[in-house]
Amino acid sequence: MPTEKTRFPSLGQSISGHIMTGAMKGVLAFVLAWLCTLVFKLDATLGQLAVALFCSYLIAEIMSAVIERPIVIQQNRTQPGGLAYVFLPFSAALLITFVVGLGITKDTAAATLLIAIVAVLNVAEVILTKSWIPGPSPEDEQRIFDEFKTMTKEHFSDDIDRIKSQARENTKKKYFEKKERGENEK
């Protein structure tokens, strides 16, 4: 199987990846925050907690990608592992959460609660992904993706035409529906 040239994610792609996964953690963090408001009386509204979590996660995920970048480049691995790779973004996320949480809610208890929630979710992620252990080398990673792309292409080879035509139909349908709605509104 011919191997493609090794591709390394840009900072923009790394930030997008962090935001994608951060969005999921953010939703869970909000559910936890909501549950906490059922148990504890806080001087902050649920809306304020939601805004604080959204801003915290957005800033923290962007900062994580930026903080990790020098380590990623130095090690030439997308998952370089090591304590600095785990603890620097982790600490930054907690600090950002506290500052943003306090700034938005003006309540120390709420800010501390947000820190605790973010810490729990981030620790769980670190444990599950074992991010302190270095990931595969760029060559191995490229091989994995080559294999994955080939497998996907072969696996769905019979369906590609059908998927394409179905996707075209869906797009066409959405376009006419949108057009019809627009005309009705006029």
């Binding site: 994610p9 962090h18 999921m24 939703v27 869970l28 559910v31 979710l121 599950l128 994955f148 179905q166």
Partner: protein, 193 residues
């Protein structure tokens, strides 16, 4: 003083609450989103599933295997049926998933096995419908899940690839979106977590 106490109590129980979320949030959200979930009762939670859901990122390998097992338990004719040409495909799929759920739950109870909290049925149903609308048989999706996991070694391997940006660099945004969806993000989140 009272505020300080509240903070310390809040911090000490947040871990417990994060785990409790699993049992409460998953079935509730699934019930509002799709039909078979209404027939599936909440399962007992295992530590592995709790940890993965507290993370929210992805399923553990055990959960992933259980999801595949659930899909595999569907009748052969339904697995290989063409969703576009089979009459009442969604209805049949929904019914079959509910049947599998009942059987698996009874087996679990009979063996005294603690079943994980993830609602595999609802989760699988969402994942399958995502691609079924394009007319791909479920059997193919099961095979693709398995092969993808074998290549990346684990589900968390795929999560790490998305997080590092390598998935976007290699596959492009559309494919990353699709895999993200299949892993439990987007619409599947409600059913899987």
């Amino acid at each position: 003083m009272l505020k300080k106490m509240k903070v310390s109590v809040a911090c000490s129980v947040v871990l417990g609450l994060s785990f409790a979320t699993v049992g409460i949030a998953a079935p509730a959200s699934a019930m509002t989103s799709i039909a078979p979930a209404t027939q599936v009762e909440a399962h007992f939670a295992s530590p592995a599933s709790l940890a993965s859901q507290a993370n929210g990122s992805s399923m553990t390998n055990e959960e992933f295997d259980a999801l595949v097992k659930t899909l595999e338990a569907l009748p052969e004719d339904l697995k290989n049926a063409d969703p576009l040409t089979t009459p009442d495909y969604n209805k049949k799929l929904s019914q079959a998933l509910s049947d599998v759920s009942r059987e698996q739950k009874l087996e679990g109870l009979a063996l005294g096995v603690a079943l994980p909290a993830v609602n595999y049925l609802a989760c699988g149903y969402e994942a399958v419908l995502l691609v079924a609308q394009y007319g791909i048989p479920i059997g193919k999706i099961i095979g693709w899940f398995r092969e993808a996991k074998a290549i990346f070694k684990s589900v968390s391997g795929i999560w790490s690839a998305i997080r590092s940006g390598q998935f976007l660099a290699q596959m492009g945004p559309e494919a990353a979106e699709l895999v993200k969806a299949a892993l439990g993000l987007n619409g599947i989140v409600a059913a899987c977590f």
